[in-house]
């Protein structure tokens, strides 16, 4: 299984590299690969559809117990077949469609990447692995939407799709992590087998996050806006990603986790509401569109809404309907997108106002299109009819607020019928268009072949309902968590659903007849509103950048003094936070050693220090400030002399002197002007300075009362006389106990002096 997925990843870069030399060979190679994967998966069908499961486990980082595990059951097999089967078909279509395109090699590379990621997504057993593939599909979709990279519009749409789906991706990861904590497993299989009810403390958060993930991926309102914009991608991409596979990933997630969360009230209501709104919204928006592909995109949104809503209903019947409709939708929407691509390819436009009467020019394309539209409109004997009937049935039988779903399904179905007529009838019948950029001619090979195949498939499945029933039965059982069988048939007898279907078709025909009027009205009603969620996205993005800019300007403005400000503020804040956290108020401090001043002259250094400080505040030139600062330093040094620490004092004097000398040397290279530009800045600096000083004072005061541990002190005091033969302990330490240290100190000072001398002379030479 790993080989199957990896093979697509491996083939991808090679296709990218060599496609240009032999486009045919490499193009068909990709088709063959997809078909091979399809067949490989199909070999598991008998075993899996009987209710079995297949697991594939590979060690990745065995030391940390990280394994790559795939597992195949009825649901994942169905999706796997869908992905690989459609993949093969669309790659085949693309070999013709992309023939003259630039960078067709990249297209095939990205398509393979996407297909592999999508396969991984549906087959992954480990939740984190699933998340990974989920993100990979987002990224490959980004690449595909941005395929026409010379166009700003395509780039913008690509980024939009990536961002929106990525938000969902993050939500998904968060949800999975919470699931991991609550159920203590990351395995999908184990999760499904868990008997524990979804009643843990994180369940609500998990459900909300999962909904966010599914809604962004499956373009549910209000996250739908990226999907119509994603139509900037080449048509095969739209047909594959944005109708059959990627947007279905969200639905897949819902299906997969339905047995676990299906009973949660937020889950059912969230799905029901979002599904209903999206369904109607998408269908109505589709009516207003003039671009064929955008129209199809909104129809996709609407159909996805239907599946989401059905899942939300949660009855066995509804879940069956959802899965069946997914297959229905994949067939007709894939075909329609390919038709749209074929028309675009042959006429050079997708504008519905310019296109009509293509019957003579493109009869084969028409055949595929009409078949697909029949399925979309839900006419018998198409598979669409079967699906539509099931949806109606389950909505009719549902409890509680299922009338909401019924209403919205009816409304959107009316629109489907009307649009089916627009696309399937008006596009081809009537007078031949003369306004297209290229005179319409019949497309060749796969361009009509692939949609015709899908359209005919829709018809075939409608007639031979045993086939889809066999394929989907196990899947629906897994979704609903029951053992109920799936029965599909065209004729259910005279049921209310049948009447509803009839009504739908009639209303749809009526809407089609009055389409010009209704469109005007709808266009007016939906005009500004449609952009609202998108506007929010744009504004949000801009704000984010503004915050980033503001933050950078504030903290990283290139002035050294601000950098220092940041450091000192941080230290003060951190210390303050600790003090507050631990309630270390001054009563916890110890002032045990009173400072006594015996003689008046001991105040002299203090006087000089204060004088220096005052000077600093008033000073305007660097020289004055330097001298004033040294005055403080020398004052401290002098204090040490009075408090019997001559060695410390000596060091302090030396350091002060050296600093002063070095400063003097570079002083004349610096500008003399040093005033801060504004009062507020001055106050800010002063504040931080005072706070920092206060903090340090606090520390020192506290330290003062604490007897510092120093076994050395006692050692020196007791051994100084007998071993050093001296009563002055400091002297003995310096010249006896630590003689080598003193030697080192002298050497260092000497070296420093030489260094300074060099600097001085260097200066003179210049």
């Amino acid at each position: 299984m790993l080989t199957a997925i990896l093979s697509a990843y491996v083939l991808a870069p090679f296709t990218g590299m060599f496609y240009r030399k032999h486009p045919r060979i490499w193009g068909y190679l990709t088709v063959m690969l997809a078909a091979a994967i399809f067949l490989y998966l199909a070999t598991f069908a008998p075993r899996v559809l009987e209710g079995g499961e297949v697991r594939f486990s590979y060690a990745w980082v065995p030391q940390l117990d990280i394994h790559v595990t795939f597992f195949l059951d009825g649901l994942s097999l169905f999706f796997g077949l869908l992905v690989s089967g459609f993949g093969a078909l669309i790659l085949w279509y693309a070999t013709a469609y992309m023939e003259e395109a630039h960078y067709a090699n990249r297209f095939f590379t990205y398509m393979l990447l996407f297909m592999a990621s999508m396969l991984g997504l549906v087959l992954a057993d480990h939740l984190i692995l699933l998340y990974l593939f989920w993100e990979l599909t987002s990224i490959s979709s980004f690449l595909l939407i941005g395929y026409a990279n010379r166009e700003a519009e395509a780039r913008r749409s690509a980024l939009q799709a990536l961002l929106v789906t990525n938000v969902g991706g993050l939500a998904l990861l968060a949800a999975f992590l919470l699931i991991g904590q609550q159920w203590d497993t990351f395995s999908v299989e184990a999760l499904l087998q868990t008997t524990e009810a979804a009643g843990g403390k994180h369940t609500l958060a998990i459900v909300l996050l999962l909904l966010l993930a599914a809604f962004t991926k499956s373009a549910q309102f209000p996250f739908h806006f990226w999907l119509p914009n994603a139509m900037a991608a080449p048509t095969p991409v739209s047909a594959y990603l944005h109708s059959a596979t990627m947007v279905k990933a969200g639905i897949f997630l819902l299906f997969r986790l339905q047995p676990v969360f299906g009973d949660h009230v937020v889950w059912t209501w969230g799905l029901l509401l979002a599904g209903s709104i999206t369904m109607v919204f998408g269908a109505v928006m589709a009516l207003v569109q003039t671009d064929l592909k955008r129209m199809l995109a909104y129809l996709t949104i609407s159909a996805l809404g239907m599946m989401v809503g059905m899942t939300g209903l949660g009855t066995e019947e509804a879940l069956q309907a959802a899965l069946v409709y997914l297959l229905v939708h994949a067939f007709y929407k894939g075909a329609l997108f390919m038709v749209a691509g074929g028309i675009d390819h042959q006429t050079g436009t997708r504008d519905m106002r310019l296109l009509h009467g293509l019957k003579q020019a493109m009869p084969l394309t028409m055949a595929g299109c009409v078949l697909a539209c029949g399925s979309m409109a839900g006419l018998p004997p198409f598979f669409g009819f079967v699906g539509k009937e099931m949806v109606y049935e389950s909505a009719l039988h549902g409890q509680g607020f299922s009338w909401l779903l019924l209403g919205s399904t009816f409304l959107s179905s009316v629109c489907y019928v009307s649009l089916g007529l627009v696309i399937g009838y008006r596009l081809f019948f009537g007078t031949l268009t003369r306004q297209t950029p290229k005179p319409p001619t019949e497309s060749h090979g796969p361009l009509w072949g692939a949609p015709l195949l899908l359209g005919a498939g829709g018809l075939l499945l409608g007639v031979w309902t045993e086939a889809p029933a066999y394929l989907l039965e196990r899947g629906t059982q897994l979704i609903s968590g029951t053992e109920a069988g799936l029965e599909l048939s065209l004729w259910h007898g005279l049921t209310p659903a049948l009447g509803l279907s009839l009504l739908t078709v009639l209303a749809g025909w009526g809407l089609y007849r009055g389409r010009d009027k209704s469109r005007k009205w709808l266009a007016f009603a939906t005009g500004d509103y449609t952009l609202a969620p998108e506007q929010l996205y744009v504004t949000g993005l801009r704000r984010l950048r503004q915050v980033a800019l503001w933050q950078t300007r504030l903290l990283q403005n290139g002035y050294l003094r601000n950098y220092l400000l940041v450091i000192f503020s941080f230290l003060v804040l951190a210390v303050l936070a600790q003090i507050i956290h631990f309630r270390l108020w001054p009563q916890a401090l110890r002032f045990q050693l009173p400072v006594t001043v015996d003689y008046l002259y001991e105040w002299i250094p203090v006087f000089f220090m204060v004088l220096g400080l005052i000077t600093i505040f008033g000073a305007r030139s660097r020289l004055t400030i330097l001298i004033a600062t040294s005055m403080v330093g020398f004052g401290v040094a002098a204090l040490f002399v009075f408090f019997s620490a001559p060695d410390v004092s000596m060091t302090q004097f030396l350091v002060e002197t050296i600093t002063l000398v070095i400063f003097m040397l570079i002083l004349h290279r610096l500008p003399s002007h040093i005033r801060l530009e504004s009062k507020t800045k001055f106050v800010r600096h002063l504040l931080v300075a005072i706070l920092f000083g206060a903090t340090m004072t606090l520390i020192l005061l506290n330290l003062h009362g604490y007897e510092l541990a120093s076994p050395l002190k006692e050692y020196y005091l007791s051994h100084s006389e007998e071993e050093g033969k001296g009563l002055n302990v400091v002297n003995v330490i310096l010249i006896d106990f630590r003689a080598l240290d003193t030697l080192g100190e002298i050497t260092v000072l000497g070296v420093t002096a030489i260094g300074i001398m060099t600097l001085v002379f260097l200066n003179q030479k210049k």
Partner: protein, 525 residues
């Protein structure tokens, strides 16, 4: 408080020094080559320039060889050796980082070979200061290797200063205004950080009477000391380490220095001092933070620092137009990620730190190499100059793409695996402690991964999706006229880039190869 002091006679001390010297052969070797290059510089001044590079490489290879030998000689579970009267701790953790440092240095030297600064003032093939360059570089390495082994505060300080002073000098090696400004800022900023750290260390010494973090009396006295003093001392000391790993709020030097310094030096800065800084931070966490007896919320503190670092780094990077400045913020953000591993304080956390640092070294070196190659081609370090390069030079484009994907932390690169480990270790830490701040950190970490997507992918985006500018097209035409193929990249550089990028892919699929190595390092938790 009465402690007996062991006073050794000079003789025993000297003999211990001599004995210990056997265990620092790699460092001695490095020092010997430093001196050798210094002497060469005096003899062959401005002549035989290749000789310096060869010697430097030889020295580094020899040191790496000795380190590998050290690795094979140390037992897997041994606690390590205390050398020079407990001044230095030689264990597998230290050796691993020393190997990492040396290998990074080898690549730095190789990267430097074809580097040429904007004004052409720094070019190893012609510059007369090549001897000085390697001397200072070796000084930095020596400091970093020392730092990875030190558990003694004095040695930590000395090693950090050795790294810092070498760094200040290296920053100025472009010898232009920008470079000088960066260097001065670095010095002043570094001075303040060192001062703060030294203050903290002196307090620690005052409280415990020893500078040796592994000494039992250090830990006993820390436990006994008043809380507020321990807090101050711990916090201030931490400041110095944060400076070295360029973590908030001590990160502000990084963008200026990265922009001003020569690019190979920047590549080195982003890896070697940082790696060394993280070892010492890990040791500090193990010996100091974990030992404080009272309820010191150091994990929360580090989590807050990590969050701020992530946010500042990533958000500032969004706006950068200069690729080196962007990489500076990126390296700040990565520090935030590695900090996550450090604060997890489990052996899994340490493992993820080691893995992350190793992968980070690879991808950063690779990214900087490609930046050097491209800036030589376009004469600029602006991201906007990357337009259309991917189409012209697919190989370089793809390599850069992989490097950037790895930096973002997406599959199929080792960057992803590293992030996965880091986040898993954080998750474990959260589950065992239930500290809400850790959950917040996880959320911010993931959020920042997405933010980083923007600026990392901006580069491949420019390379592949944007059209090249007119000036560039003209340039291409002029080459067509002269009939030369327009590819100024050296084959050497290309091979080097592939050598650096390839492991990023390998380590994704076979991360257990590296994990096997790291697993043999005994951690102290």
């Amino acid at each position: 408080m009465e402690k007996s002091i062991e006073v050794h006679s000079l003789g025993t001390q000297l003999s211990e020094i001599v004995e210990s010297a056997f265990f620092v052969f790699p460092e001695i070797c490095l020092l010997a080559f430093l001196l050798l290059i210094l002497i060469f510089d005096l003899i062959f001044r401005q002549k035989l320039l290749w000789l310096f590079t060869i010697t430097a490489l030889l020295g580094l290879f020899l040191t790496t060889g000795l380190l590998l030998q050290q690795w094979s000689l140390t037992a897997e579970s041994s606690e390590g050796l205390s050398l020079f009267s407990r001044m230095i701790q030689l264990d597998r953790l230290a050796i691993y980082f020393k190997i990492l440092i040396c290998v990074s240095a080898v690549f730095t030297v190789l990267i430097s070979v074809n580097y040429k600064s904007r004004a052409g003032s720094f070019h190893l093939r012609s510059v007369k200061r090549i001897g000085e360059y390697y001397t200072v570089l070796f000084g930095l390495l020596l400091g970093a290797m020392l730092l990875s082994m030190s558990t003694h505060l004095l040695i930590i300080y000395l090693a950090i200063e050795l790294i810092s002073i070498s760094s200040y000098i290296l920053t100025n090696f472009n010898f232009d205004e920008r470079s000088t400004e960066a260097s001065i800022k670095y010095i002043l900023y570094g001075g303040v950080s060192s001062g703060v750290m030294l203050y903290g260390m002196s307090l620690l010494y005052g409280l415990t009477g020893t500078l040796d973090m592994t000494h039992p009396s250090f830990q006993e006295n820390i436990a006994a000391a008043p809380m507020i003093l321990v807090l101050f001392a711990g916090l201030f000391t931490l400041g110095g380490f944060l400076f070295k790993i360029s973590s908030a709020p001590f990160h502000l030097w990084a963008p200026d220095v990265y922009e001003g310094a020569p690019t190979p030096v920047v590549a080195l800065f982003s890896v070697v001092p940082k790696a060394a800084g993280f070892v010492v931070l890990m040791r500090y966490t193990a010996h100091f933070f974990s030992q404080v007896s009272f309820d010191f919320p150091w994990q929360t503190l580090l989590a807050v620092i990590a969050i701020i670092t992530l946010l500042l780094g990533n958000f500032a990077a969004l706006w950068q137009k200069n690729v080196k400045r962007m990489m500076a913020y990126s390296s700040i953000a990565h520090s935030g990620f590695i900090l996550i591993g450090v604060l997890s304080t489990s052996s899994f956390g340490m493992l993820s730190v080691l893995f992350y640092v190793s992968v980070y070294a690879l991808m950063n070196l690779a990214a900087f190499l490609i930046i050097i190659m491209i800036s030589r081609e376009t004469g600029s370090e602006e991201i906007s100059q990357y337009r259309g390069l991917g189409e012209q030079y697919p190989l370089i484009g793809v390599l850069m793409l992989i490097a950037m994907i790895s930096l973002t932390g997406l599959p199929p690169t080792a960057g992803f695996t590293a992030k996965l480990f880091i986040f898993s270790s954080l998750w474990e830490a959260y589950q065992s402690s239930d500290n809400l701040m850790l959950l917040l950190l996880l959320v911010f970490g993931l959020f920042n991964t997405v933010v980083s997507l923007f600026y990392y992918l901006k580069i491949p985006y420019f390379m592949f999706f944007k059209k090249s500018e007119t000036t560039f097209v003209a340039d291409r035409f002029s080459h067509q006229r002269t009939g030369r193929r327009h590819d100024k990249f050296y084959l050497f550089d290309k091979i080097l880039a592939i050598v650096l990028i390839f492991p990023l892919l390998i380590l994704f699929f076979k991360s257990n190869w590296l994990i096997d190595f790291i697993h043999t390092i005994p951690f102290e938790f």
